[in-house]
Symmetry: C3
Subunit: 139 residues, 3 copies
């Protein structure tokens, strides 16, 4: 069994954003030399997500609006987590809706994807350096 | 290390439905010959889910009502994704709540499940052929 | 390839609670002797979650309030699942928002975590014995 590990670093200037990281994960799989296995991609921070969906600007706009409706940033005082001086309680909730991680099959050395699947880093509390972990095991 | 791959195909006539695929995944595990490992089951489409919950008609009815409240299909014009002529933006949201994939342990050649765990394909934009991927690695 | 399996048991006296199980999962990884691999941690019951987030009391308070807003327990008669005499339909929904499982990388024999990642058991229908499965594969 082979294994491979890499951290992808991000520093998103805005509070929220969706970044397509599919090609970076493909690069990891190529570098690993693994043909058949499982690829884990997870946010290493608890106010960010990794998820798979469509690379379509209108949809990302809809996600932003929808997540803000489900877990509004304002008023920040509605959240007990923010009593400690934080203002990111909403980000901890948005991350639960969108998920921490994805597991993708590796087949013949490629990400085994349907026609529209793309991997995204979802930032909900930007403005500082944060990481995504790529871990691959297989043969 | 062994690996196994199979696609399960669906063509759901209605817009939304929940289909129990547990026995199909069990068939895959048996065919793989793998005794100890991990079973990845994921939707290959971004308007569908794979999730684990109860096979109970009342609950599925409740999920339908609840998801429609969290991310309503109508009015379709509320979503920017639908400006391109689509009408399935809500399906991209419902899929995030219910999830893309499950990872299940294989132990002694069986799906290592609690008493009520069943695997479902969740369709949120039916009327066409769509796929689920089963990938198993182990020994 | 090595594999390891353990069940963690819980009997939460209240209906809902969040329990930090990180050290128990670390114990499993140590006992497995696996250095490089993947660690699956999943609820074996469909009214409970395993998720990764912050060990902060204010945030858990916020999750409780937020989940109750997204999927209220009362009135129990609003759910068709409860027609059968159950009162836990809301728990099946809360579990979907928070997730069934996490997959964590094992690197150099340790859980490969960012600075604040902690693993929680989320109980949404307590008052009886329930289990979490830890399955590890690797080398």
């Amino acid at each position: 069994m082979k294994s491979y590990r890499k951290e992808l670093w991000f520093n998103i200037p805005t509070r929220r954003a969706f970044i397509n990281i599919t090609s970076q994960v493909e690069d990891c799989l190529r570098a690993s030399g693994i043909q058949e296995g499982l690829v884990l991609v997870n946010a290493m921070h608890i106010t960010a997500s990794v998820f798979i969906n469509d690379d379509e600007r209108g949809l990302h706009n809809d996600y932003e609006t929808w997540l803000e409706k489900l877990a509004p940033h304002e008023p920040v005082r509605q959240y007990r987590h923010n009593d400690s001086g934080e203002d990111n309680a909403d980000a901890h909730m948005k991350r639960q809706v969108m998920g921490r991680e994805v597991v993708v099959a590796a087949t013949n050395g490629r990400l085994d994807f349907g026609p529209w699947e793309q991997i995204f880093y979802g930032e909900f509390d930007g403005g500082r350096r944060k990481r995504v972990l790529v871990k691959i095991i297989g043969e």
